[in-house]
């Protein structure tokens, strides 16, 4: 008999949305705390770096530093929201709360649970990105209607980091494991993907490294949206993100199966 982990094609139906709905329903009971948590840090960065450091820096790439900073911070906000959801949140549901075990007694498949969690993580990325965009608009940092495109971008970044986080969750023996992930993967992503300074300032090898960071491509697109300079490069960034999302999604499903189907 074939082991169910062996199937490559995910076993997905509309039931994925019932898992998404469960998470959304829970979120509606404490969304305020959740949004403040997701927004607090990027907002502090925007104020401290944008105003404080911005005074000394002056302009970068022809724009005031705070305007250079803002598009990237939307991306990192979406990244953090999705990452927290699909590491600590998903791990708690998978282990301590045994939520997956409970759902598995119903006709919902394990692949649908994983997909539902990733979709929800992406939704949190989207919601946090949207809240950040709103705050930026209030600060007068949004000039054109085109900025609305950062909303679907936040969702894509959310998908990517949710799927990546689910892989980490599948491999994680305990909560402690996530601190390695945050320190070794998410923090460098935050610092070296072009949010705070143009990647062109880095030595060549570091630029190559940055190209392999998924967030770099998100930041590129976001900045292109804000400066209204979208071109072939933007399309390549988008394709890069889509390929990475597909790959991490498939691996996430496989790794969760490997952990739970014994």
């Amino acid at each position: 008999m074939a082991r169910p982990t062996g199937r490559l094609r995910p076993d997905l139906t509309w039931r994925t949305m019932t898992v998404w709905y469960r998470d959304a329903k829970v979120w509606t009971t404490f969304y305020k705390a959740s949004l403040i948590g997701n927004l607090g840090e990027p907002l502090l960065y925007l104020l401290a770096m944008g105003w404080g450091l911005g005074r000394m820096v002056g302009t970068v790439d022809g724009v005031p530093y705070i305007e250079f900073l803002a598009p990237g911070l939307i991306c990192s906000t979406a990244m953090y929201a999705a990452t927290f959801e699909c590491t600590f949140g998903a791990f708690t549901r998978m282990t301590r709360q045994k939520t997956y075990d409970a759902i598995l007694a119903s006709p919902v498949s394990l692949d649908e649970i994983v997909a539902g969690e990733i979709l929800w993580g992406a939704t949190k990325g989207f919601l946090s990105g949207a809240a950040m965009l709103l705050v930026m608009a209030l600060f007068g940092l949004v000039n054109g209607a085109l900025a609305i495109l950062t909303l679907p971008l936040s969702f894509l970044i959310g998908l990517l980091f949710s799927a990546l986080s689910m892989i980490v969750t599948a491999k994680s023996p305990s909560y402690d494991f996530f601190s390695y992930y945050f320190t070794l993967v998410i923090a460098p992503m935050f610092l070296f993907s072009g949010i705070f300074f143009p990647i062109g300032n880095l030595p060549y090898w570091a630029q190559t490294f940055a190209w392999f960071l998924p967030l770099t491509h998100g930041v590129n697109i976001s900045r292109a949206i804000f400066t209204e300079k979208m071109g072939v490069g933007t399309a390549i960034d988008l394709v890069w993100l889509l390929v990475f999302i597909t790959a991490t999604f498939l691996v996430a499903i496989r790794e969760i199966r490997r952990r739970l189907v014994l």
């Binding site: 169910p4 469960r22 329903k25 075990d101 409970a102 007694a105 006709p107 919902v108 498949s109």
Partner: protein, 310 residues
């Protein structure tokens, strides 16, 4: 005879080189209450989790409601109810929300779900807690809510893994009473337990599992009669006394056909026939003795041994 709703043939589960379930075969018919009895680690939970498709089958066949489980997991799961051993209620949601969200997994419409949830909560005496957080419920109430959740899709077959473990006597009796009522409504029940009393009260038929194998199968009454007789006399041994000395002290009073067994400080005499035979055994004063009816526990201990399972 009612149709077969659950059947296993040479059902096997291996984890690497460890065999948790070792080629067991059984059949459960519609409307029955069927029990899996066994000490810890006997393979009860693994068997239950294969039936509910939480654990893939390694070898053999397992047919639930006429369908091979591995190939028809979704269809089977939409028609069975599962009450797990570990409490896995959704603590992020309140009582009624737990049931409504779970109905969503079963694709039950909102209105139907609401109606069924309230009916079941009423039946299980939980209606007044519909809006409570899960942590606010007692252990017994949480277990009842798990059963309610397992019934939300109106299952033909309800699988309960140790439904009363860890509950106080009052809570256990309420659950037993509800399970008997469900059975009267025609729901087939499959229960695992290590409470003999529970098995004796609820099960029409049961198997005793040990080390992943079925030792015996039958109705509680038949098993007791066949493997433990009808009466038991427990005689506490004196300080440093051997079982042989004790038997000698009882003299020729022990009736024909009685089986004697000893464990640590106690001699057990199992009499095959009733009629108070062991009543007549005279024991010198000062000795601690207990005369009682044979129970399923005697069967269980005789078959699985008295050493600790941890």
């Amino acid at each position: 005879m009612p149709p077969i709703v659950l059947s296993a043939a040479d059902l096997t589960k291996r984890y690497g080189s460890f065999t948790a379930v070792d080629g067991i075969s059984f059949e459960v018919r519609e409307g029955e209450c069927f029990g899996f009895l066994g000490p810890n680690g006997a393979g009860k939970t693994t068997t239950m989790r294969m039936i509910t498709n939480h654990v893939p089958v390694t070898e053999g066949s397992l047919t639930v409601l006429g369908m091979e489980i591995m190939a028809n997991a979704r269809k089977v799961k939409s028609r069975i109810g599962v009450v797990p051993q570990d409490n896995n209620l959704d603590t992020d949601l309140k009582v009624l929300e737990n049931l409504l969200i779970y109905s969503g997994y079963h694709a039950i419409g909102r209105k139907t779900a609401q109606k069924r949830a309230m009916e079941l909560l009423n039946f299980f005496q939980l209606a007044e807690h519909a809006r409570s957080p899960i942590e606010r419920l007692s252990g017994g109430m949480q277990r009842r809510l798990l059963i309610v959740r397992g019934l939300i899709n109106e299952p033909e077959l309800l699988i309960l893994d140790e439904p009363t473990t860890g509950l106080d006597p009052q809570a256990r009796h309420v659950i037993w009473q509800k399970l008997r009522a469900l059975k009267a409504q025609g729901v087939t029940l499959v229960i695992s337990t290590h409470y003999m009393e529970e098995a004796e009260r609820l099960c029409d038929r049961l198997v005793i599992l040990d080390h992943g194998r079925i030792l015996i199968e039958g109705s509680p009454r038949d098993l007791i009669e066949k493997h433990a007789g009808s009466e038991v006399l427990e005689v506490r041994l004196g300080e440093g006394e051997s079982p042989g000395d004790c038997l000698k002290a009882l003299g020729g009073q022990v009736p024909e056909g009685t089986v004697a067994e000893c464990s640590a400080d106690t001699l057990y005499l199992y009499a095959p026939e009733g009629g108070g035979i062991l009543e007549r055994v005279k024991v010198e004063s000062g000795r601690t003795v207990l005369r009682r009816r044979a129970t399923l526990e005697d069967v269980f201990l005789r078959l699985t041994g008295r050493e600790l399972r941890e």
